[in-house]
């Protein structure tokens, strides 16, 4: 097993204490920092797929993300100048009237692990705050709106429509949360829908690459 393959396996297994050392060993072996980063991004993709399939649960996903983050810390000095967020910036938040943050945090983590820079606006975020974040942040390519309550679906609709009629361009809007469906996403004019954190990262990449 090459060191880079080992990095990949240990990120997937959530071994946060082992990954930094292995990343260093992979660099010492001559692997390029960008390749090691890509291997870790691929690992998180696998973890996301397993989460979507119900094969792993929230703790495993959190541990894998932590392992990757520790590995990225080792790579950071070497990645200066070569952006780690080539996919752009994702602005994420739970819509107004809703304080649930666990699902939103998982999506933020997976989207960051997929290669986006993530700006987390938190919970109970107004449509205006989403719009302001798109204006203020650089290169926003994705806006992700989360909502867990049926009662906050009108707020999600308002957020999507406010973003779409703001005159701002260059980004796609993705929505998710327990009461949200593809049908509902289409109805309110969102560009994408994802049923869970793993597929949210896949969908975000797909929308940006389209």
């Amino acid at each position: 097993m090459t060191k880079i393959t080992e990095v990949k396996a240990k990120v997937e297994a959530g071994k946060a204490k082992l990954v930094p050392g292995l990343v260093q060993e992979a660099l010492d072996e001559g692997s390029a920092a960008g390749d090691i980063l890509q291997a870790m991004i691929d690992s998180m993709g696998v973890v996301g797929e397993k989460f979507s399939a119900g094969e792993v649960f929230v703790p495993e996903m959190l541990m894998a993300a932590k392992a990757m983050s520790k590995g990225v810390d080792v790579l950071k000095p070497l990645l200066t100048g070569t952006s780690t967020s080539s996919l752009g910036t994702c602005v994420i938040g739970t819509v107004q009237g809703d304080l649930h943050d666990i699902g939103k945090n998982l999506v933020a983590m997976m989207i960051e692990s997929a290669g986006f820079k993530v700006v987390d606006l938190g919970v109970d975020v107004s449509a205006e705050k989403f719009v302001n974040a798109v204006k203020e942040q650089e290169n926003v390519t994705i806006v992700a709106c989360s909502g867990l309550l049926t009662t906050t679906l009108p707020a999600m609709k308002e957020t999507v429509q406010t973003l779409k009629t703001s005159g701002l361009t260059g980004f796609k809007v993705i929505v998710g949360g327990a009461p949200v469906s593809q049908e509902m996403a289409d109805e309110i004019g969102a560009d994408g829908f994802a049923p869970d954190a793993g597929s949210a990262a896949v969908k975000a990449k797909e929308l940006v690459s389209a």
Binding site: F57, V58, L62, M63, I102, T150, A178, P179
Partner: protein, 325 residues
């Protein structure tokens, strides 16, 4: 006509109920205990463990606050420094209202029901945030076992007082173990960390006169049902449609019963109508059948967030009883 209590027993024992058990009708839940559980909308409070809860105006419930300033347990390895079980006021005066309520209940008709919330799993993440609590299961398993043991002992100490004061016939115990689509942790992890705690807690109640254990988790938790049975739960309240309740009844009926299958989110919202409620009630009753099932909103107490929904469901269930029994 059977009493509410008899009808419940016939339903969960696979006998001959004469109607559907209608939501929470079999339990008279005693909430007048000297432990503050909730704050009014638009306010916040610190509970006896030091956990701050906030209920912003216009929201449907309260949430624990976990910023650096408010998080109680900042380092799991030092949990003894941060986590101190509160002393429960066990004076006659403090328990007078609860005891009077218990004494007013006709025990032939309904179960005198003690209420406990939050449970051990929720206590862990209320103290330290969900992310910290779940990662600690991997990173500091020994400390988590110790913390869970400590929380279990605290629950048992409270149980002793509840039993001594109220002599409950039933326990209604809250602890949410999943999201709407999956359990928060794997079955193996649940078995290692939380099953032993609940086996102790529920065995203690049963050894002290409690006939019926009703556990609330309005979530997916189908993968945890074998452990629910092992820990002594008689009724899982809050079972959501995502669990495929008819399938669970087929597989586990006789060992445990299921209460819910009417997802609150689908019927309990500002634009609700009696027709939407009736349609969901009919679906639930027809799909799940007469035994090992209690049609009920998945919400964890006998009311709805929007006025009229709970009562509308009650009426719809009565109509289904007339049609199906």
């Amino acid at each position: 006509m059977l009493t509410k209590k008899q009808n419940l027993m016939e339903t969960i024992k696979g006998g001959n109920p004469d109607r559907f058990v209608n939501q929470y009708e079999f339990m008279d839940i005693i909430l007048e205990v000297p432990v503050q559980l909730m704050c009014p909308p638009g306010s916040e409070f610190k509970n006896s463990w030091g956990i701050t809860f906030r209920w912003p105006e216009g929201q449907l419930g309260q949430f624990p606050v976990h910023d650096d300033e408010h998080k109680v347990l900042k380092d799991i390895t030092e949990w003894r420094k941060y986590v101190k079980a509160p002393v429960i006021d066990n004076s006659d005066e403090a328990w007078a209202a609860a005891v009077a309520h218990a004494n007013s209940i006709d025990r032939n008709e309904q179960f005198v029901t003690a209420f406990v919330a939050p449970g051990v799993f929720e206590m862990c993440h209320h103290l330290m945030s969900m992310e910290d609590a779940l990662m600690a299961l991997y990173e500091e398993p020994e400390a988590m076992h110790e913390l869970i043991d400590y929380l279990t002992e605290a629950e048992l100490n409270y149980a002793k007082i509840l039993i001594d004061r109220l002599h409950p016939d039933a326990l209604f115990h809250h602890d949410d173990w999943g999201s709407q689509k999956s359990s928060f942790i794997s079955p193996a992890m649940f078995e290692e960390f939380y099953l032993p705690a609940y086996k102790k807690i529920y065995a203690f109640y049963k050894a002290n006169g409690v006939e019926l254990i009703v556990h609330h988790s309005d979530s997916y938790a189908a993968n945890l049902v074998p452990y629910m049975i092992e820990m002594g739960i008689d009724i899982w309240q809050g079972v959501m449609t995502t669990n495929n309740t008819p399938e669970l009844i087929k597989k586990y009926g006789g060992q445990i019963s299921f209460m819910g299958d009417i997802d609150s989110g689908v019927v309990d919202f500002p634009e609700w109508t009696p027709e939407i409620v009736a349609k969901e009630v009919e679906r639930a009753c027809k799909n799940c059948g007469k035994l090992y099932f209690i049609p009920n909103l998945t919400q964890g107490l006998n009311f709805s967030s929007f006025p009229g929904v709970y009562d509308s469901a009650t009426e719809a269930i009565d109509r289904m009883s007339k049609e199906m029994f």
